[in-house]
């Protein structure tokens, strides 16, 4: 009896403890659902928006000395909705309906760009160990214990009360106001609503502002739970919110709130009981601390893969959806052989010159960034295969790369195996994991594949990395995950130049694989599937086989690149290299520069590691002006501009899914062709100025 009583007591205590965070999760989920319902945008940037408000509140209060109320008004009431309005008006309004993949890519770009843009404008720097304060003074120090079971801190109670009030206010708005009614109508069918004389775009702008307000509110409320304000934590928050929203099938606001509360409570209860289970099951110990944060990711992955109704609700059933024009065709369709030839010649010349300069002139730090660029390009080729060829967005490439890195570390550390063999083994393991992961995903729509891979990445980050046989467990905290450099016969790769040669060779092999796949059966099959899945099946293509193959190739390349990166840095450096938020930027880079070609991946690799060094520090201007003294005073620019620049470039994805590089080249080619045609026309008036095989943008 005593045992049972204490069990119930613990259960209630866990529930109480879980309510405040659960309420905030629910709040974010509500905001997320609101934006998704009214505009069809799967707003992954929601976490970034919450972060901006939380950080602005912190900055105004602590750095500028504002009162709590003034800081709250600025961060949550003014800035948060303003961001929503700007995003809706400048970006999402102009995207054609049905372009859900483009919207997702842009949202991913924004979640990279927004936090950095904010930090640059406001001059905010996340400082470790400075815990953000809540809305009320001394929020972490005053406790209330109404039931005698669990003491709520003042912050927790505030979060709970504000979240419940917010949800209630939203319900009242929907029920009792004209704009609420209009919003419900727009959700049902934007076009039908417009036919009734309501301006759907205004309603949609309002709901974006409202949803962003909820993001800001949630950000400020949840901030005291983190010991440091940092964008990646808030990005994870959005994954939790999506899990809560998925419980509500992404459309029901009350169920989203309930889902958030449920997740919060479930986490707290597991937190209460898990330590007792671990006492008996020792093997669970290393992951004990990390199982609970992973609960939402597991729930999300399970919901996406096992609950078909969730996926079928993805197409908003607008009765007038049929009148939508088909999505616009991309500007450029086929590539003329000329363009390919010019590209190859240019690339060969460029690499010869750049290679010679690097070999003869570069110092150690330049060698490091150049080698890193080459290795990252190898990793980025994995995105070329999956996103460029198969049209699938994977947000867990960082995890595959990390598998490569950790395999090398483990094999070298435990068995003294050669790191080069380890790299190949690591790539194969990554390929196998990737193929296995693909199996439940092949039937999902593209947006759901992205969400499921995001959940996997978050799970990998929270649980798998902590396992001793993966991330090294406790010992690696002290010693790091060290990886030695290999020696091949007389060739000691501890020498950075020698290692660069190896990196270039690996990249060349990877580039060959990718281009062979592109022109071969696999690439053609994937292109067909990307074009039309039903039609592909009707000519005998098995979507499962093709997609699993694409995932496996992609996983192999990512694992290989991850292993190389770890060997280069002599350490896996998981958090800075491969964490989900870091890997998010990879996708942004590759997609904005060109996901369809090997050179797009190469440019992306160069941009990641060389842009800061060459452009932002003013080195390039210095070369042009032939003197370091004449570099203008605005340099060096912050490396954060990289994230802002490429994050915002994803906006072009809606119009030019082939990426900046390819699009720029085609435009230049068309212009050249027109010029020469005009010249011909002068000589010979009947000349046709159309360029065969080239569509004009």
């Amino acid at each position: 009896m005593v045992l049972a009583a204490s069990f119930v007591e613990d259960l209630v205590r866990g529930t109480l403890q879980g309510l405040p965070p659960g309420a905030v999760y629910g709040l974010i989920a509500i905001g997320f659902v609101l934006a998704y319902k009214t505009s069809g945008v799967f707003n992954l940037a929601f976490g970034a928006q919450a972060y901006v408000s939380a950080a602005l509140y912190f900055q105004a209060r602590n750095e500028w000395g504002w009162s709590n109320l003034a800081a709250f008004v600025l961060a949550v009431v003014v800035v948060a909705p303003a961001i929503g309005l700007v995003l809706e008006r400048l970006i999402f309004r102009h995207l054609p309906p049905g372009s859900s993949l483009a919207k997702l890519v842009i949202a991913i770009g924004l979640s990279v760009a927004l936090p950095n843009l904010f930090e640059l404008i406001v001059g905010f720097e996340p400082v470790a160990g400075r815990t953000p304060e809540g809305l009320l003074p001394n929020g972490a120090g005053v406790f209330y214990d109404p039931l005698g079971l669990y003491s709520f801190s003042r912050d927790e109670l505030t979060a709970l009360v504000v979240a419940v009030l917010g949800a209630a206010a939203l319900a009242a708005l929907f029920r009792f106001t004209a704009i609420g009614l209009q919003m419900r109508a727009v959700v049902e069918s934007p076009r039908m609503t417009e036919l009734n004389g309501i301006r759907a775009d205004r309603v949609s702008a309002f709901s974006w502002a409202l949803s962003s307000f909820f993001a800001g509110l949630a950000g400020v409320l949840i901030a005291p739970r983190f010991n440091t304000l940092s964008a990646p934590d808030f990005f994870n928050l959005v994954v939790v919110a999506i899990a809560a929203a998925a419980i509500g099938k992404l459309v029901s606001l009350p169920r989203a709130l309930a889902g958030g509360l449920g997740l919060g409570v479930a986490i707290a209860i597991i937190d209460t009981f898990l330590p007792r289970i671990v006492e008996r099951q020792q093997w669970l110990e290393p992951i004990q601390e990390n199982v609970t944060p992973a609960v939402p990711f597991i729930v999300l992955f399970a919901l996406v893969t096992l609950w078909p109704e969730l996926r079928s609700s993805k197409e908003q059933t607008d009765p007038l959806a049929g009148v939508d024009p088909p999505p616009p065709t991309p500007a450029a369709l086929t590539r003329s052989p000329w363009l390919t030839r010019i590209t190859i010649v240019f690339a060969v010349c460029f690499f010869l010159v750049a290679g010679l300069v690097v070999f003869l002139r570069a110092d150690a730090s330049w060698l490091f960034v150049v080698t890193q660029a080459v290795i990252l390009s190898t990793i980025y080729l994995s995105i070329t295969v999956l996103t460029g060829f198969a049209g699938q967005i994977s947000l867990c490439q960082g995890a595959f790369a990390a598998i490569g890195g950790f395999t090398v570390f483990q094999l070298a550390d435990r068995f003294g195996m050669s790191v080069l063999v380890g790299a190949v083994v690591g790539a194969c393991i990554a390929a196998a994991v990737s193929a296995l992961l693909a199996l439940p995903l092949v039937r999902l729509g593209r947006v759901w594949v992205a969400i499921a891979t995001l959940a996997f990445a978050a799970f990998f980050d929270a649980v798998v990395v902590k396992l001793p046989f993966v991330g090294g467990g406790g010992t690696s905290l002290l010693q790091g995950t060290r990886v030695p450099r290999p020696v091949i016969g007389p060739w000691d790769l501890a020498d950075d130049k020698a290692f660069l040669v190896l990196a270039v060779l690996v990249f060349a092999v990877a580039a060959y694989v990718v281009s062979a796949v592109k022109t071969g059966t696999v690439g053609r099959t994937l292109a067909a599937l990307r074009g039309s899945e039903v039609a592909s099946r009707s000519i005998g293509i098995s979507p499962t086989r093709a997609r699993v193959t694409a995932f496996a190739i992609s996983g192999f390349l990512a694992g290989l690149g991850g292993a190389m990166l770890s060997i280069q840095q002599k350490n896996v450096n998981y958090a800075s290299n491969f964490a989900p938020f870091a890997a998010l930027f990879w996708l942004v880079l590759v997609v904005s520069l060109g996901a369809r070609t090997v050179e797009g991946a190469a440019y992306a690799g160069a941009s990641f590691s060389l842009m800061d060094r060459i452009i932002f520090q003013g080195t390039f201007i210095g070369w042009i002006l032939r003197s370091e003294d004449r570099i203008p005073g605005v340099f060096p620019l912050s490396p954060k501009w990289r994230f802002v620049l490429f994050g915002l470039t994803t906006i072009a994805f809606a119009k030019h899914p082939e990426g900046l590089v390819e699009n720029g080249k085609r435009n230049a080619h068309v212009r050249m062709a027109k010029l020469s045609a005009r010249r011909d026309a002068h000589r010979e008036p009947s000349a046709d100025d159309a360029v065969p095989g080239e569509a004009v943008a």
């Binding site: 369709l333 099959t525 292109a527 039903v534 039609a535 099946r537 009707s538 190739i553 569509a695």
Partner: protein, 256 residues
Amino acid sequence: MTAVLEARGVTKTFAGITALSSVSLEVQPGERVGLIGPNGAGKTTFFNCLLGVLAPDRGTVLLEGDDVSDLPVHVRSRRGIGRTFQRIELFGESTVREHLLIAERVRRGDGSLWRDLLGRGRPRADELEACDEVLELLGLARLADEPIEHLSLGQGRLVEVGRALMTRPKLLLLDEPSSGLDRRETADLAATLRTVQDEQGFAILLVEHDVELVSSFTERSYVLDFGSLIAEGPTHEVLASAAVREAYLGPEVDAP
């Protein structure tokens, strides 16, 4: 002779509503058969059951005498069902020839990742030749290198036909090929199909509500209404029957 296609008692209900009730149908080799019916009669549902896009609640589908009811869509395609789509389904961002090439490669079944990696994945001369033959037959030869986005709807339909032909089908299912085309384009399409069929000898099952096309193109027809077959027989007889007229036009009213 074994029928190319035989459906036996195909039944499908959606949430209690019977979309198909025990529909049976047969197509002999080389035949042109029509399946007609007013909107909502269950034509598309039946079509999807034949192809395996939908799983029927009851009933079997036989292809040349073999039960294919449990096979997925792509396997049925490989067994000899080719199809076109009512709402055109082409592979964006590729040329006309590339549409046929991938179908040819899949039919041969000799492409693999390993061959790609060995540099043997590029289109081969004999594959290109096979594609060009079909393109010639359909009058698409001069469009072979055009991006698919540059084509008209009528040309797009022909590309779909060409793509289906590359799989060397024993049965070609045409899903409302006349939708979106004007009368002349429809007539051209029908003429081309007839020529190609004479040459290759596959059977055609035409799902259509354009009565004119059905009557000029098919020899035999089945009529679906509210999920049940209400008539079958030679097309001109079927179209003349009272039941069919009633299904299409409503019950006849005697003039007062």
